[in-house]
Point group: none
Chain length 207, copies 4
Amino acid sequence: MGKRQQRAAATAEHLLASAREVFETKGYQATTVGAITKHAATAHGTFYLYFKNKEDVFAKVMASVAQEMYREAGAPWSNDPRETLARATLRFLEVFEAHKGLWRCLLEGMHQSKAIEEMWLDLRRPFIDRIARNLDRSVATGQARPINTRLAAHALGAMTEWSAFAHFELQEPGPSEATPRELADTITDLWYHAVYAGVYDAPRQPA
Amino acid sequence: MGKRQQRAAATAEHLLASAREVFETKGYQATTVGAITKHAATAHGTFYLYFKNKEDVFAKVMASVAQEMYREAGAPWSNDPRETLARATLRFLEVFEAHKGLWRCLLEGMHQSKAIEEMWLDLRRPFIDRIARNLDRSVATGQARPINTRLAAHALGAMTEWSAFAHFELQEPGPSEATPRELADTITDLWYHAVYAGVYDAPRQPA
Amino acid sequence: MGKRQQRAAATAEHLLASAREVFETKGYQATTVGAITKHAATAHGTFYLYFKNKEDVFAKVMASVAQEMYREAGAPWSNDPRETLARATLRFLEVFEAHKGLWRCLLEGMHQSKAIEEMWLDLRRPFIDRIARNLDRSVATGQARPINTRLAAHALGAMTEWSAFAHFELQEPGPSEATPRELADTITDLWYHAVYAGVYDAPRQPA
Amino acid sequence: MGKRQQRAAATAEHLLASAREVFETKGYQATTVGAITKHAATAHGTFYLYFKNKEDVFAKVMASVAQEMYREAGAPWSNDPRETLARATLRFLEVFEAHKGLWRCLLEGMHQSKAIEEMWLDLRRPFIDRIARNLDRSVATGQARPINTRLAAHALGAMTEWSAFAHFELQEPGPSEATPRELADTITDLWYHAVYAGVYDAPRQPA
DNA sequence: GATGAATGAGTCTTCATTCAT
DNA sequence: CATGAATGAAGACTCATTCAT
């Protein structure tokens, strides 16, 4: 029995991996069930043994990479915000690049299905929430300027996400004009000054 | 003949307007040629007299609203960057909201066709360029911190665009949590401090 | 324009006729849209220009023969019930035989779709109603025994319908054992005596 | 080995019972092998160990309830035809109602497979035959009018069967309009007068 | 110029049946 | 005996595009 189940699990895994590759390559809308099964070299019907339809398999593909994508969302910030920011931003860009095909799929699929939009929002929520939480703490301790942390978290998250997308997927600005490292540095620098600068400078002012 | 050409132009115009409305309502992928001609009350075949296909008509729809969408991109900044920023940001959000259906289409269509992606990049480029130019000036005059203005322009533009999309299309954060005005204020505040704050505070420091 | 519309109408007519033939030959469930278009020598998609799906085309086929099928339902009975009954029954059997393929389809389709069941019930209702009305009159005039005319109409209608089906479709009893004429005579005879006999004999009894 | 065979028989029995329940609930066409095995909680493949296909299992289900369905077919009529008729009709309606799901299946399956049609005809034949036999006897003893007993048996059987179907499955006439009892009474009354009335009254006529 | 009927390729989805374990 | 994964044929429906009128 274990053998059978193992084989089945292998098939499911195989289909999932195939789906992921096809999604990454072709995008959400252009991916067909036929393409997935062809890539997996299984019969068309086998797909429906493990997944309800394209939306379902996509959800499962995403679930399998979700933790990785927003993994950093769990870690708390250290006391040195600049350092923490730099690390988190760079890490986000790295993860984004590693999964850029799926990211694009997510953004594309969002338009095709309310369920995918929901899924994506659920996926990024912890990411935004962490930012908000850390901003709250920074404001509470006087490290950061007093700001609307919830809105700021959304805006700063948007900056990071969309910059990553523009950089890796749209190649904007031109590929020769910036490395991921430079992009991370710029984002970090803007973010840091946007939130901490005014107050951070203040201590240097004599009473 | 002049009459005939006029008639033709009117038909084309009519189809274009219909296409825009359908795109705005249904989104890119869900819009069909049939839906456009039905909305325009013309024959299905007439469409192909004026447009090559859906991609083509979308390009022409976008071209017809392009200047409006990034209209502000031309205006130079005043000497009071905070004030200018506030106005430009709010104006962008207003324009975004006025065209949010087409915006969504653009983001959606971008995934379906390289040509649309290209078109969109061309559309937003002046917008980003203006930011870069103005940052250059601010840095040159010492108003702003010395930064990589090109990258910063991309990042700040990304923040604004994506915040607008999240706010108007994804309703993130929840509708009751922020008005467009508050969002504009937050973006302006972050942007301002990100670029100007560090230097701006400095003069206040005693020697 | 007239030409075009004519052509289109011809196509629709042609598809309808093809559908009817295929339904008659294969039955409801075994009929596919593909079979209909193949029989009509049109493209598969043409079907959907004129019909929503199989259920729809079946409804239209049935509508086109409905009046004929229960046509007699409108005529009132003469004063000689036996004579009228004989004629109406024979006529029903003739019509049934002429459309027996579609009849079978109807009975079959009834199980596949609530809508077809409804359609059929609506189709036969006038037929049953006429029986009930005429029984009412016969009872009122003292020609017929006092009975529950509504229930009797259903039962007598059932006898006629189901006998016809058994005879023409199931070949019960064996084909050599009865002609439609004999069947009609038997039904007429049973019906007549069932309703009229008891009273009809009475007048012959001396006071 | 005996154990093994017992186990096998139990499995077969179990599948048969499941099949019956599923057929009763869903109807013939909508029943799938998958649904049967799922309901029986056996493996999909096990089904094919005991049955060739859906048609086969249905035949076996029907065989297992056949005697019950037309059980009354064996009993001879008493000398009081009215009383016998009333009892037999009511009994038939009761049995019909008790098995109405399978009845509908039978009528539905009849259209899908010649074999089921044949099976059904074989099933009802004794029922019709008994009517014919009893009519023969009634005619021979002078109780009934001289009629074509074979055809009359078919027609009267049809009336009963189809009235039952219309009543229990089609809810015709409306549910509030008749109870099974009333329907039985009407059928009995019509049947009785159809066959016996004319002659039955005669003796009462003075010479 | 305008029409709109006709086309047919492309996908999705279900399910009876097989067969290796 | 029983299992259940795998198969693939079959059918429904959509829609971009063409072309004769």
